[in-house]
Amino acid sequence: MSPSAVSMTTIFAIVAIGATIGILAGVRRKMDLEQWTVGGRGFGAVLMYLLMAGEVYTTFAFLGASGWAYSRGGPTLYIMAYLTLAYVVSFFMLPEIWELGRKYGMQTQSDFFSVRYGNRYLAGFVCLVGIASFIPYLQLQLTGLGIIVSIASFDGIGRTPAMVISVALLAAFVFVSGVRAVAWVSVLKDVLMVVAAVTIGIGIPNIYFGGIGPMFAALAHSHPAHLTMPGATASLGHTWYISTVLLTSLGFYMWPHTFGAAFTAKSGDTLRRNAVVMPLYTLTLAFILFAGFTAVMVVPGLANGDLALLTVVRKSFPPWFLGVVGGAGALTAMVPASIFILTAATLFAKNLYRPIFAPSMTDDQVAKLARVMVVALGVVSLCLAIYTSTTLVSLLLIGYAGVTQFFPGVVLGLYWKRVTASAVFAGMIAGVAASIFLMLSHRDPLFGWSAGFVALCLNFLITIFLSLLTPAVCEASQPRVRGSNSAPRSNSGRIVNRRPATGSICELEDIQ
């Protein structure tokens, strides 16, 4: 068999196994909306870990992290820091979100805003920004998939056929099995990815330099500035690092799919345990960085840094291993893409279409519409990925800056009783507008600060300021409840007025 045939066969086999696992994952269960979107809230620690690892480690981790190590050097370290710190944030936030989710039957991020703030325009806006932020992210996965499969098959499979086949497969398993499919396909993807990353990260420095230590010694000698910040860039220094790590670690669980994954857990405790062990998975990234740094010396002068990892792998390993990397890479794009499509379809059907056009729809009808949307979104993203290819990275960064603007609304909504719907809405609009303006006018980074972070600070200030301006009042629709576990028991409470120095604060106090 020719090298191309060997690697193509391997890629096909891996992707076919993945898709089969996905379809089988939910085929024997009755798929109502609750089962399809949040797996019946029954995911234990292991499945939860796999789902979260599955959606976190996307093609960006595979190609982007090594690409940045290759083309930018030191600044790529931010990826290791922000992923680890994102789990620290999740430790404190996700169990509380899960708790509220169970009490009020939430399935999406938009549900959270609708329940907490009782304002359907705010919930609709969150939904729209969420879906809009997904589109470039989804497109990026598909484009990355095309690159991986075409390079790994020695150009035996073109980018377009690779994207078409994989979208058809992932739409099929999401359609049939919902979020369970995503979690189970992640099992195969994670195992393959860890094996591939460790083999590449140890193997490539070993082949060319006789080990990781000698490789870094050679790189520090030949490119002394490459390994620290700002590396090969002009503006990505320490201020940029701090503001970007803060922005991305706080914003990480604001993506509708990472936020929504919290609702699939069996208990809040599962999520907390998960936050304790998840950072360890980030260690895999170190190996990918080793490979990216080696590529600086082995395949210098590539115009597109994202190709560095695969180019060096193709140069160094036998075809069957290239096929494994290609298959793992394809699944690494398909798993996140499928959860994006699942989340966006649910958001559209449940939080946008039903409240505005058809309030009388039943949950079963919503589930049907969401499944139809899976197919529609697959086709749309495929067209975007085939017919547009430029400025993806800048679109992705706008997406990140966009979803991070939900953070004040979520964190203040959880922990501060005085925050109001209109203040959150105003802060969010200002934050989204500011980040889009700064990025489109090429002011990112702004005086060394990440533009999204500047927008987030503005958002926080506006939200807090406007909330403080609004006098605290008692609203029947939005009972302020004191105590941790007593939220929905407003019927059994009585209203108590207390008058501290700052003004009146109304509270419902349990009389049990």
Binding site: A81, E99, I212, R272, V276, P279, Y415
Partner: protein, 75 residues
């Protein structure tokens, strides 16, 4: 719907340790030398703190569990 239970100060303090070590203090550790186990100092620092962050969060987990038991929460 009202605010939920706030995390305890001790757990929060444990959560701030990784932030201080991996984010805010970057100017102190962003250098190549001394290389440890053949890995540049900044990369080695981050790899170590990935593990140490898990340790910090494990400790925060104990703090929260102990507090929940005290509060009589059954989960």
């Amino acid at each position: 719907m009202g605010p939920v239970k706030k995390p305890s100060a001790r757990a929060l303090a444990l959560g701030l340790i990784p932030y201080a070590a991996m984010c805010l203090s970057v100017s102190l550790w962003d250098r190549i030398y001394p290389m440890l186990f053949g890995i540049p100092f900044n990369l080695f620092w981050l790899i170590s703190w990935i593990v140490l962050s898990a340790v910090c969060m494990r400790a925060a987990y104990w703090v929260e569990i102990a507090r929940e038991k005290k509060d009589g929460r059954t989960e």
